[in-house]
């Protein structure tokens, strides 16, 4: 067991280090590059007096290292300040948004994972045949089309023009839970599933094909085991490792894709909040969301590494 603990500890340390590094990147971006926060906030209406007052207020006249330590301290202690636009606290803005994004992400993974496994397994057993070729061509196209374009196409067909099944924009009354109007999640979820489907499907297909060529599958078939049982009991189980890895990577892609898709549908999550904040140059909100997303990515990486480790004993030795 100590071996496992050491691996976990090491991964955790690397994760924390990366997280710290991202905090430096965010800080550097916002504070060091030309046009400091005060100029950015005031925009074209700035005058030297206003700039000086705001710089004082933001602590921009202190040495850079002190600024960074103060900034990091506030970030870690959840003392995130107020939005420059709405003067609501950043914590309250991001809190509810994070919840909505988590719901959307959860739905997407719940639909995506089984779909990818089934599609991957089926195309693997029919490898090289017509249906496999058609599926791979469709995946190739889906993989190419940008996520927000898929969203627009879905809006055209399912919301606005051809059929009017689902709302094109998520009009959620502030303060109410997304669970009371789940219909707004349908199109964003569908978009994300379509956009993300090709990668995990291909991974499952590839690892299934490899497993299907192995000796123990031939053995099982020679025993006269029904093909269905061969696939379900032997092949699928052994193809699990790469699948978990694919899931982890898909979640990472999802954390980027969700931002754009939320913005298209006005879904009140972290992504939509971030885009609005960027358009309004609302720096307190931007920095918190960027660090939150980075933290989520580090966490996803860590968890998927550990799960892969748990399901494939062979890998443990190599770490």
């Amino acid at each position: 067991m100590p071996m496992v603990i050491r691996i976990v500890a090491r991964r955790l340390a690397v994760g924390l280090l990366i997280l710290w590094a991202t905090s430096v990147i965010v800080f550097v971006c916002i504070h060091v590059l030309p046009g400091d926060a005060a100029e950015t906030i005031l925009g074209k209406q700035s005058n030297p007096y206003m700039l000086r007052v705001l710089r004082q207020e933001l602590g921009l006249s202190k040495p850079l290292l002190t600024q960074y330590i103060n900034w990091l301290d506030n970030l870690v202690t959840l003392n995130w300040g107020k939005s420059l636009v709405s003067s609501l606290s950043v914590a309250s803005i991001t809190g509810s948004a994070a919840e909505n994004t988590a719901i959307l992400t959860g739905f997407t993974m719940i639909v995506l994972t089984p779909l990818a496994i089934v599609l991957g397994a089926v195309t693997a057993t029919k490898s090289g045949k017509l249906w496999d070729n058609i599926a791979s061509l469709v995946m190739l196209c889906l993989n190419a089309i940008p996520d927000f374009v898929v969203a627009i196409i879905l809006i055209y067909f399912l919301a606005a023009n051809v059929a009017h099944l689902f709302p094109a924009a998520s009009l959620v009354t502030p303060g109410t839970s997304i669970f009371s109007q789940l219909v707004v999640t349908v199109l964003p979820t569908a978009t994300l599933v379509l956009v993300l489907l090709p990668y995990p499907t291909r991974m499952v297909r590839a690892s299934m094909i490899e497993v299907l060529q192995s000796d123990y599958i031939m053995m099982a078939r020679l025993k006269g085991m029904p093909e269905r049982r061969v696939i379900m009991r032997h092949a699928l189980r052994n193809a699990m490792g790469p699948m978990v890895q694919a899931c982890g990577l898909t979640l990472l892609f999802l954390s980027g894709g969700v931002i754009i898709v939320e913005a298209v549908f006005n879904y009140p999550g972290l992504g939509e909040t971030l885009i609005t904040a960027v358009n309004q140059r609302d720096i307190p909100v931007i920095q918190v969301i960027v660090v939150l997303v980075a933290a989520a990515c580090v966490l996803i990486n860590l968890i998927s590494d550990l799960v892969v480790l748990a399901v494939t004993p062979k890998l443990r030795a190599r770490l």
Binding site: I25, L140, N143, I145, I259, I275
Partner: protein, 297 residues
């Protein structure tokens, strides 16, 4: 791979390198490459020659907003009453040129970083790759948004944003390929005969890893167009009133229900060009995988 038969014979892989350079030609055996290229050429032609063919100035008002097709506006007008056809013909240049330049920058710098990391000593590799990991901790779009917040959306910045977002991804691909080549005979020979580091990297290793890098370029170009279109759509890329496919989708979206062509035309252009590039890339990947290595994504 050829093996040296005598001490004086350089164990070059000239044949291998030439074979790699023939990659594009060989990939033409696949129908999908030819189809893809046709699609790309079609859209590129619209983007390049479109501005000269446009019947109107893309900024001129020629009718009421969202009016249907007429003699003056063959495809109708957009959200402000400008000629849809003219704006469509004018709208491909910015997005395609910025995407292309950004991809060249990202894949170019990523190749340099990856080559250096893959070939060099452990310490340099560690430092470079940890830096790459750091950049990869963000999803690309978040990094792009962060940079645009700081600098504001101007065209040069957008090229830099795409480049910086893609650099770490390409660096990984180039590094993995360079590590495979590092131990080969022709590199050892070049080292023994005292060629410079720069020559070993660019004249020996680089020509032999063109296959994965070509595929990488195609994948990144598809992603760059997607990223640019998304940024334009979100109001963070090319700014109105410039005619641009991404901007057009955004500004005409209110008219989707009654004048759908205003949105569907730029959508179609983006879909066709990205699918085209992906088909070509897939063909090249197939042609390369037939040889020495499997090429992923």
């Amino acid at each position: 791979m050829t093996v040296a038969t005598g001490a004086l014979v350089a164990p070059t892989t000239k044949a291998q390198a030439r074979w790699n350079q023939m990659l594009l030609v060989r990939s033409f055996h696949y129908t999908r490459t030819r189809t893809g290229l046709a699609l790309v050429v079609l859209v590129a032609a619209v983007a390049v020659f479109g501005p000269w063919l446009a019947p109107h100035n893309p900024f001129a008002f020629v009718g009421a907003p969202f009016s249907p097709a007429s003699a003056t506006a063959p495809l109708g007008t957009d959200t402000l009453g400008r000629d849809l056809l003219s704006r469509f013909l004018d709208g491909g240049r910015t997005i395609l040129v910025i995407s292309l330049l950004g991809t060249v920058l990202g894949v170019g710098s990523g190749t340099i970083v990856g080559l250096a990391a893959g070939y060099s000593l452990r310490a340099v590799d560690e430092v470079l790759m940890r830096f790459v990991d750091m950049l990869l901790a963000f999803p690309g779009i978040v990094l792009a948004l962060l940079l645009i917040t700081v600098t504001g959306p101007n065209l040069a910045v957008l090229v830099g944003v795409i480049g910086l977002t893609f650099m770490p991804l390409t660096a990984r691909v180039a590094r993995a390929a360079a590590i495979q080549e590092r131990e080969s005979d022709y590199v050892k020979y070049a080292e023994a005969t005292g060629r410079s580091l720069w020559a070993i990297l660019t004249k020996e290793i680089l020509p032999n890893i063109t296959a994965p890098l070509t595929v990488e370029f195609g994948v990144r170009l598809t992603r760059a167009i997607g990223l640019m279109a998304a940024l334009d759509y979100l109001g963070l890329g090319v700014q109105p009133p410039t005619a641009d496919w991404g901007v057009m989708i955004q500004e005409n979206q209110p008219g989707l229900t009654f004048e759908p062509l205003t949105v569907l035309l730029p959508v179609a252009a983006i879909v066709v060009v990205t699918i085209g590039i992906n088909l070509v890339t897939d063909g090249i990947g197939h042609a390369a995988a037939g040889a020495d290595r499997k090429v992923g994504d």
